[in-house]
Subunit: 375 residues, 2 copies
């Protein structure tokens, strides 16, 4: 086993753990992982991520397969060297990206045929070719090629996605073992929001004894209530000692609820995407910096925050940068929102370690509220 | 006098000096000043500029007048506080920006009427209103409102621009003295590429005894030969002990030629603008990073350079970031080109101090060449 995961404290179903990747700094869990789609977290440099304290991030195999292509990344010595990133790296299979190409993809038992969103060229991901791709990219953790059903989907489509996901997980595992190497392959559990399908998928995938498990097919429109129900179903079905990675989730509130249901790892493009649109997470809720109310507001975006934005600049200055379409605005907001998510992970973890989860969660939720800061 | 300028060595006409602004770190001259049009150097934070060793930068009064407006900047405590910049600051008057709005401006003896490029609203800059504007913005050095003739222009237009520039300089000076404060007001010499007009302008402007002089109306299409001829004319006409600021110039080669002709200060948007288009200055010449030749080039953009780009990333990675339209590419290239211009200023200065100007210049020119690096 190339990774090591230890739960150091459990409080209810919430877990505080340590994840060790080969030759990398230990990762404290629960952990939020920034999304570096194309071997870069948009607007940031790799050294910015180190300075923020990021220990692990996600890259997207689909995007890197198209540009610059696996051969170039492999020639660089893999993604770590390509982007000069010393921390941990996960690649997803690209299955979700391909699934998100409506009309451009066709699912077959052998794999998924798709058309590049860039130039219309035609491609095929099979479980085997995808393992070759992710091995060439060289992340520490790689994900099995899975099939994600849209929400809502007819039962027979969800059933089919579970069956293919199981079959492909087996084929991924076979190819992965054939290829050898230090990477850890995680299986992915699908099944929409249907109890029996989730149970089947969890049973079939965990039977293959992966070193960790992704939960896929959530945060695709089903809403937090149904998502949390699925997590309640899955928690007892996944071996306790393995890390659980809730893929593509989520909001600050989602993180609390998912950790409360036994999840350990998270990635989401939302914090960085909304940052580039001028929406900042703060301890009081979301702040929409372009609002006229901030034109002469000389306080930092979040007075509670010590990030490079909040320790140097005012709301009025950031608003000016957004209003004048300055790229610096996108960078500063990205640094801020990632700091928020990293601090949130720490807050949640420390609440578990100090036996204070429910109270800390309630305090956070009360303060954070659900909407934007009133002007 | 709120600024202090000392020439510590002169070699031929080239000067190495020290410029002191109130409460700021001493600025070594010759100095290249990055352009921070809208109170930000595009893609960078103020702390990036400090880290690069920038000691003084330029802001544009025209842009700041439109957005966020002088009242907001003034309320912040001036530009230094608004952008959280501890170093030196110059604002230009905005005259050049207004001059660059073809069809949107009308020159009258009282001032210049113009239409905002943003929303079509109508405005008037008079010498007096412009001093109020630049005082409100609060830079350390401010520039007189001048009139720049296009190149080429009929003689009578150049003549008129010189006359207005002189008249407006006098009015600026009157208003500036009335307003008081610690700022230093520089006069600007115009006159196109016509010897007699330049001589007249230099005589009239220097007679007003400004603490420093801008050379305007160059690098507007006349080419390096004519520009250097004008500098040859001006050098003996400007009091030796005053700093000379060659506005809007220029290329690496321009800097050498202008310093050889007695110039001390430079600003130019080109290094940062071409950076954002993927053109990098290197010790060997300009490098166009999007070229296919760099797709698998694992060397740093400039092996001679220790900037954040060259010390962390390969040409292949930077090319990937440009090809995938990642904002990080613009930032990394900007950091690089500014580092190049700052290093170039140091190189030129040290060549003066060590009695080595001509040889160092020749070596630089031989290595740098005029065009792009061959693929």
């Amino acid at each position: 086993m190339s990774i090591n995961f230890n739960i150091i404290r459990k409080l209810g179903r919430a877990r505080a753990g340590r994840l060790s990747l080969p030759d990398k700094e230990t990762i404290n869990t629960p952990v939020f992982m920034p999304v570096g789609t194309q071997a870069v977290v948009k607007t940031l440099e790799s050294r910015d991520l180190s300075a923020l304290g990021v220990k692990v991030l996600l890259n997207n195999a689909y995007h890197l397969y198209l540009r610059p292509g696996m051969n170039i990344v492999n020639e660089a010595g893999g993604l770590h060297d390509f982007m000069n990133w010393k921390g941990g790296l996960i690649t997803d299979s690209g299955g979700y990206q391909v699934f998100s190409l409506p009309g451009l993809r066709k699912l077959k038992p052998e794999g998924i045929y798709f058309t590049s969103h860039l130039d219309g060229s035609r491609h095929l991901f099979t479980p085997e070719s995808n393992m070759l791709l992710q091995h060439a990219l060289g992340a520490d953790i790689i994900m099995a090629l899975d099939v994600c059903a849209a929400y809502p989907s007819p039962d027979d489509e969800i059933k089919k996605s579970v069956e293919l996901t199981t079959d492909w997980a087996r084929r991924c595992l076979g190819k992965h073992e054939e290829l050898g190497g230090k990477q850890a392959l995680f299986g992915i559990i699908q099944g929409g929001v249907i109890r029996s399908f989730r149970e089947n998928s969890a049973r079939e995938i965990t039977a293959m004894n992966f070193p960790g498990y992704g939960i896929g097919g959530l945060s695709v429109g089903e809403g937090p209530v149904l998502m949390n129900e699925v997590l309640d179903i899955l928690d007892p079905l996944i071996p306790e000692e393995k890390p659980r990675y809730l893929m593509g989730v989520g909001t600050p509130q989602d993180l609390w609820e998912a950790v409360a249901r036994g999840m350990d790892m998270f990635d989401c493009a939302m914090p960085t995407r909304i940052a580039r649109n001028g929406t900042l997470y703060t301890s009081q809720g979301r702040l929409v910096i372009k609002n006229a109310a901030y034109a002469r507001d000389w306080s930092p975006p979040d007075p509670q925050c010590a990030c490079p934005l909040c320790s140097h600049h005012s709301r009025a200055y950031l608003r000016h940068l957004f209003n004048t379409h300055e790229i610096t605005a996108l960078r500063l907001s990205t640094l801020h929102n990632l700091t928020f998510m990293l601090n949130l992970s720490d807050l949640i973890r420390n609440a578990i370690l100090s036996d204070d989860f429910e109270e800390t969660k309630r305090e956070f939720m009360d303060r954070y509220k659900s909407g934007d800061i009133p002007e």
